[in-house]
């Protein structure tokens, strides 16, 4: 009986190990997934840059228009 229980436990542990190993693309999951945080902050930052750049362009345009008048 004991042996059967041991076998079952070791089988579950083995299966567990396999299941736990499934996640891939491991760089983005390492170090507590900090790279995901960095990625999101970078997306926000670049988004704001694009926005700022576009506003900048709009002012450029207005300046040109007013110059030609």
């Amino acid at each position: 009986m004991d042996m059967l229980a041991n076998l079952l436990i070791s089988l579950t542990v083995f299966l567990n190990n396999i299941l736990l190993q499934i996640p891939m693309a491991d760089t983005f999951r390492s170090d507590g997934k900090i790279y995901v945080v960095v990625g999101i902050v970078l997306i926000l930052l670049i988004g704001f840059f694009v926005y700022l750049w576009r506003v900048d362009k709009k002012i450029d345009k207005l300046e040109e228009e007013l110059k030609n008048k």
Partner: protein, 223 residues
Amino acid sequence: MKYLIRTKWWKWLTMAILVYVVIGGFLFQVPRLPILNETIRVLHFHVPMWFGMLFLFLASVIHAIKYLSTGKVQNDIMSSQLAVVGVVFGILGMITGMFWATFTWGEPWSSDPKQNASAIGLLIYFAYFILRGSIQDEQQRAKISAVYNVFAFAALIPLLFILPRMTDSLHPGNGGNPGFNAYDLDSNLRKVFYTAVLGWTLLGFWIATIKIRYKLLLEKMDD
């Protein structure tokens, strides 16, 4: 300021620096300090807000003096818009500081000398906008607020850099020893921190140039 309005290259520099600051600030090795733990990384985001504010206010006061000596409206516009962005940076510095303090000092407001002094400093600049808003005549507004700007900046320096150092403060580098004491020697932090100050300051100036150009356009359209 005129140079910044005319040129564009420094905007690319701003973006590159801030991307570097985020990557380096989050991923580089930091010293293992008690209580602070990983929040030491806030150094690259909270402190540059105050430095940015200071540089913006410095530029603002320079243009206020320029206005007083030349009487050109564009100098007044530059001065006021730089002050606006400076105050925004100050408020952001205040909010981030309070959030940081909640988890390190135990409460958002410990009436730390530097906290109180920076709050007073910001209030002085709020009064600058109230002053501007309350004067109808354009020339009078420009002149009086330019003079006020000089006094505001002159009050801000001792408030932020001298008075907090004369008593004990929770802020590093206060209570008699200027500088960064605890993490003074860490070169990894410095590498990111100095560029962070430059990057965030440049971002402030970028926003300021947009606001200035907008106001200049309005001025032109009025003519």
